[in-house]
């Protein structure tokens, strides 16, 4: 089994729903974005187009972050998920330099969102679950997946632009979409073999 995702760029409307639902699900502190969206305008007026590119950890089969980790904190788990053992991470940030997709973030301190205030009650609860001085990233919401649910970003996308499933099952919806729509990963020439594919516009 290899978990993967297909993101339909034709359906994505750049609402940031994935980014916000991930924040709500994971309670990640400011400066840590397990999921995010970048926008670019292409072409020149009047022939312009806006591209929305949702980003997350691509859980690569040949993950450079796993290769460079000196403590083994970055590791492969069941289903090909690349996870971080936060108790083993020393915060060297080599994985951040190795990842070509900007999927990792260093949690320097669990700072408050409202800089001139102390932590809110919500932050106090959620940040108690976080680890300071380590690198953090998306884990495909494995807790939710193991409970039979989709990752938060997939479940909450209002345009149904994201599909999650087993890439090694040709009958799965994600495999079908990639096959029929010509899905491709980002920067395949780097040889990282991402598990997230983008369906073209």
């Amino acid at each position: 089994m290899r978990y993967g995702m297909a993101i339909d760029l034709k359906r994505c409307v750049g609402c940031y729903g994935c980014q916000l639902s991930c924040k709500a699900e994971k309670g990640s502190p400011p400066g840590v974005f397990f999921a995010r969206v970048i926008k670019r305008e292409m072409g020149t007026f009047p022939n312009t187009q806006v591209i929305f590119l949702p980003l997350l950890c691509f859980h690569c089969a040949a993950a450079p972050c796993v290769e460079v980790c000196p403590t083994g904190a970055s590791q492969y788990r069941e289903g090909g998920v690349v996870a971080i053992d936060y108790d083993a991470c020393v915060g060297c940030r080599a994985c951040m330099q190795a990842c070509p997709y900007g999927a990792r973030y260093f949690n320097r301190d669990n700072r408050a969102y409202f800089a001139d205030q102390c932590l809110t009650p919500y932050e106090m609860v959620r940040y108690s679950e976080q680890h300071q001085g380590v690198v953090m990233k998306c884990d495909f919401c494995m807790d939710r997946v193991n409970a039979g649910k989709d990752p938060a970003c997939v479940a909450n996308c209002p345009a149904k632009a994201r599909t999650f499933g087993d890439l090694e099952d040709p009958a799965s919806e994600v495999s079908r979409l990639i096959r029929e729509r010509g899905g491709a990963p980002l920067e395949p020439e780097l040889g990282t073999q991402p598990s997230v594919y983008y369906l073209p516009i």
Binding site: I38, E67, G72, V90, G91, A94, M96, Q97, C99
Partner: protein, 304 residues
Amino acid sequence: MRDQTYDRLLKDLGATFRPQREWVEGRGLYLIVGHFLSSIGAGTWLFSVIFDSHAGLLLAVLAVMLAGVAHLRFLGRPGRFWRMVHAKSSWISRGFWGMILFTAGAALYVLPKSGVAVPWAADGLFANLTLWVSLAGMATIMVYKGNVYAASKGVPFWNSPLLPVLYIVYSLRAGLAMLLVLFSLDQPGEAADQVALIELWIAVSAAVMVVFYLGVMRNMNVTTRRSVAELTSGRAAGAFYLGTVAAGLIAPIAVGVTGLLQPLSMGILGLVGVLSLVGDFFAKYSIAKAGIYVPLLPVNAAVR
């Protein structure tokens, strides 16, 4: 009051060419200092063994130990440093082993030479064994740093086999430079002239390598070209021109060439050593500062 670091992070995340900051700004500067000190330590050890400089041996051990402290200061969770012995494919892990081997071997080797009463002789079998252990550690320290950078697929400017070679050359040069400084204080004569000549040769080699490296990077892809631009006219330009080029290459080479035509005073040789060390630091700093991450969208797209 808004958090300027957070605002800058958001701006970086939205940029096409996102600059690398973790390994050069804030506590990242400790990493540069650590690399600089370990570079000095490894190079100084090698040439102190060759030229039989006791002061150099002691300084080398001290430099690598201080490098270890600097590295710990950089880590997010320094108390877990012992976990870095773990991984098989990580150059950081290999470098950690190198520093352990060097520190242990070098300290044991230096003890009898420093007059400390130990059960083994300064020129006996055990001492020779500790020397070989220290040399193995020294070689690992010289090799690992450039490979740590070269393994960074996310930063194309670093992801090149040229960088490990450049770092080895700079480490050799740092060792010679430190010996020049020590000799200028304590040990004039033929050894100093030999060190100065080798230092000139390696400085010229370093200059050629830097030019070659930048030439290759300028033509590799749009991201590396952007990094070269950061180095030559952007964020890292000051450090590059003043530190790496002027102080680190032009001045030492010019003085060294002058030394071929007429004898140089020990003070001048010491100055060459200091300038070379300054250049070594700024070479590491500016290469780290010029790092740009792989752009995730077409670079000709306008940022909205």
